[in-house]
Amino acid sequence: MHPTNGRVNGHHRRNGTPRYSAWSLVQHGLTGAEWSRAWRAHPMRKSYDVVIVGGGVHGLATAYYLATNHGIRNIAVLEKGYIGGGGSGRNTAILRSNYLTPEGVRFYDRSIKLYERLAADLNFNVMFSQRGHLTLAHNDASLRTMHWRAEVNKLQNVDSEVIGPDKIKELVPYLDTSTTTRYPILGALYHPPGGIIRHDAVVWGYARTADANGVHIHQKTEVTGIDVEGGRVTGVQTDQGRIATPVVVNCTAGWATLISDMAGVRMPVQTFPLQAAVTEPVKPFLDTVVVSGTLHVYVSQTDRGELVFGASVDPFASYSMRGSLEFTEGVAGHVLELMPAVSKMRLLRQWAGLCDMTPDYSPIMGPTEVEGFYVDVGWGTYGFKAGPVSGEAMADCIANQRPPEIISAFGIDRFLQGRLVGEKGAAAVGH
């Protein structure tokens, strides 16, 4: 594994823009000088060494690590809307690494480690708040799964343990831990390094530093086709013109199938909306992230005081991001079963993102049967958590033309070979 740091020392960064710091903030405040652009708009070149489709955290991180770890800088990131406008800006910004399979734990643990130093690496405060993450168990089967995850986690040196109702109540006084509820809380998987982050800041931090390292970010540029000749990629068609390139990376979420279809690569993916909602703010009362698999809900309180809710993906496949009333009704009911005292808080807004679900709840990463066409897709509901490690691994994969060990279990060939990853095991025994 490569030691990663995109760090550029000194008061100025690679492209001469000033570093962010309390001192620079004061200087700008005093002088009223304008900040320089975090990223620039460039004219599109006729060709790039690497074209990344999707300007979310995965695409931008891949570009950033290609530039900083491997010195590949002639890169275009193509984004059909604005950067971070897809899954990166629509998720509930929860980070954790307490997965079930050793492959999953190792992978997401690397992601957490990269996230922990991301603010310093990118010189951009991404506000990673490691306030702890609780997954509640309401029956003995899910308690057993929590133990299973805890044991696998501990063996990978990931801080994770099963705790009882008293300790849970101490961490989250607003939880109803009485034994008479419909779904009594029997215990929880407690994961102290988990927490929340400012998701947009991660996108902007990567974009800013990738830009400083020469990466071209093209917003409002939609890919309309991928040119494949003789089994290898030769270029990308966009609504802004054609780009010649030997390497195309599909870093989209929600559009994984559609982009791969352009290269003629079939995907074991079905796209489902995942909804989220946010309440009006109240004074801080919830320090940790609380998840209940049985009740299909997760909740955290942001630094702005809002509660952010999420649930499982919608019950049927769709590319619609319109959202549903059933979702908010369900999530409110379940949150109130956990914390009756929040009943007078008001739901402010709901939204939806798209999740590309794979059969084994694990991603599809690496090369495909089309030479030069790489995928970093199929993230289901976990994509944001994996942003940095995916970027790092995909950059490695592209630069060295073979998947690094950390993603070797996630190749697309596993489906035809029947070697699925067991992350779904947690779901299968979770009821």
Binding site: M267, P268, Q270, P315, F316, A317, S320, L416
Partner: protein, 89 residues
């Protein structure tokens, strides 16, 4: 909430139904290669547009039925075999 038209019960709330996914023909189990079988198990067309899929009216007549649904607008229509054949061509 989408209204889904059950061929037996008429338009009903979608919460009465369970989504069964894209309709795939099942390969012959004694003749399928691993690739054919796993394509059937795991791969999907996942179109952004009209999709032929199975639904189960669990809170109604308990019939499984196939229907075409547009995956972006949620409009749906009965399957027209002639149209389907034309689309395949």
């Amino acid at each position: 909430m989408m209204l889904l038209t059950c061929p037996w019960c008429g338009p009903r709330n979608s919460t009465e139904f369970r989504f069964g996914g894209e309709s795939h023909p099942r390969p012959r189990p004694d003749a399928a290669t691993p690739e054919e079988w796993r394509d059937y198990l795991y791969f999907a067309t996942n179109p952004r547009g009209w999709s032929r899929e199975t639904w189960y009216h669990g809170s109604g007549c308990r019939r499984y039925f196939a229907i075409e649904r547009h995956t972006e607008t949620n409009e749906h229509r009965a399957i027209d075999e002639r149209r389907a054949a034309e689309a395949r061509r």
